[in-house]
Symmetry: C2
Subunit: 280 residues, 2 copies
């Protein structure tokens, strides 16, 4: 049975007992409202480690004013059942006061990667992500932590902060899990009405089109991005935040598609801000 | 014999062996050029822990442009001998490239405490301190770390960042060690010529005068600070950077001296920037 722990002290006690017995700990940090994407991370952690800890914490620090912190889906009972089905040992579900007690004032940040892609539209977002993940890593002390490729920029930034701050955690990324029609799974898909849900496939279709173009020899980033935008703009009610073709290590825009390249996009549909990406 | 280790991997191996055998690790992070202040920290660590690690790293990140990074005293051979005399197990002396390899871009910062006292005159200084100490704590994984009260603001900030980021380290502060004439020991005292060395006692004399005033019932921060400045200004060639009387937890200026109060000052004499403080 999955045990739910709400205190930092409780997690420390569990982890310390694991480590003393030589067990490895796999960790999946989440904001809850689990979907198959989260479950795929739990399964990989379960396969690779003696103990699996999943955290659920809707982190206020990574939401800007006016973003969806208040309406972000919270469904802890369903999450507990799903974690249990995946053989998760511990669900760490701390309160905001437990993570950010009175007087809290420290943060972790970077200057380069967080200024790019989503970071340009969500000031302070990655600073909030880095801060909470650093805290969680220091509490859970996992051997490895698992993230989804949908949040590729987040993965890259966390890999950087973990390296830079000498955290002894292996940061791993697993493929984006998709609905049958290609939509990347996301807790924020719950914001979509039925018509919007159909429209939302345009992100995946644009990426597919980009991959086809590249496969057929197109190497101009401008042409590929242009075609993607054209395809998305054909769907009424979509607002493209960005379509970018960048080096997959530096996130610097490229003109010519060659070597490790990331195609990433963010599109607003109704109340939802959706992101997706492909490595080509 | 004290062993010198220059790599992060070497320290990790040593510490991991300690922890596996249930030994406690005490840590003294320094910039080298040891004096009795450093040695008092090593002695306390030696008294309290099974293993003692001292780091020497002149951290470029905590020096602003135009500060004394280049001329900061480096005397590693003498330091090794002194650490050896104190029974230090490991001297961790990494290169700049070992601590900040190519691509390094993360930092730890706070908004409140680093803006006060020394922070107002040394932009980025405490950010650099927090970043390197977070790195060192993650590498050394000590049970406790030891700092001197001369750098009281640094201690307060590190206590905050360790709490906020859930680092499992006990941050301890030990009393300032002084020369016979009261001058607080500091590696930067090496910058002082013979005349300046004498003049430098004005910091301690000003603090003593403040303590006497408070002991005799004076509670006006303005009056005490005024008297301290008057006393220092009488010494030719001194430049007061600040004399402040603040709450010793928040570093907020107080008008009335009551409860836990810190009297802190920074004075420039020749090429040296000297600091000192007293808790009253």
């Amino acid at each position: 049975m999955t045990r739910t722990i709400e205190t930092i002290a409780g997690i420390r006690a569990f982890v310390s007992a694991c480590r003393q017995r030589g067990k490895t700990v796999g960790f999946v940090p989440t904001m809850g409202a689990f979907h198959e994407g989260h479950l795929s991370l739990m399964r990989e952690a379960r396969r690779r480690h003696d103990a699996v800890i999943v955290s659920i914490f809707v982190n206020p620090l990574q939401f800007s004013a006016g973003e969806d912190f208040d309406r972000y889906p919270r469904r802890i009972d369903q999450d507990i059942r799903m974690a249990n089905s995946e053989g998760v040992d511990i669900l760490f579900a701390p309160s905001v006061a437990e993570m950010y007690p009175k007087g809290f004032d420290s943060h972790v940040d970077q200057t380069d990667l967080p200024s790019k892609l989503c970071g340009a539209f969500r000031p302070g977002h990655f600073r909030g992500v880095m801060t909470i993940v650093t805290k969680l890593f220091n509490i859970v002390k996992p051997h490895a932590a698992y993230f989804g490729q949908k949040d590729y920029q987040q993965y890259l930034i966390l890999r950087r902060s973990v390296t830079d701050l000498n955290l002894d955690v292996d940061v791993r990324v697993l493929p984006t899990v998709r609905e049958d029609d290609g939509l990347a799974m996301s807790s924020r898909n719950l914001y979509l009405g039925p018509k919007q849900r159909k429209d939302a496939t345009c992100l995946h279709r644009a990426l597919k089109r980009a991959e086809d173009l590249v496969a057929s020899g197109e190497s101009s980033a401008a042409k590929v991005a242009g075609e993607m935008k054209r395809l998305i703009h054909r769907v009424k009610g979509t607002r493209v935040e960005y379509v970018e073709i960048v080096n997959s290590d530096t996130l610097e825009p490229v003109k010519e598609i060659k070597g490790k390249t990331l195609i990433a996009l963010a599109v607003r549909i109704g109340k939802a801000r959706l992101i997706d990406n492909a490595l080509v």
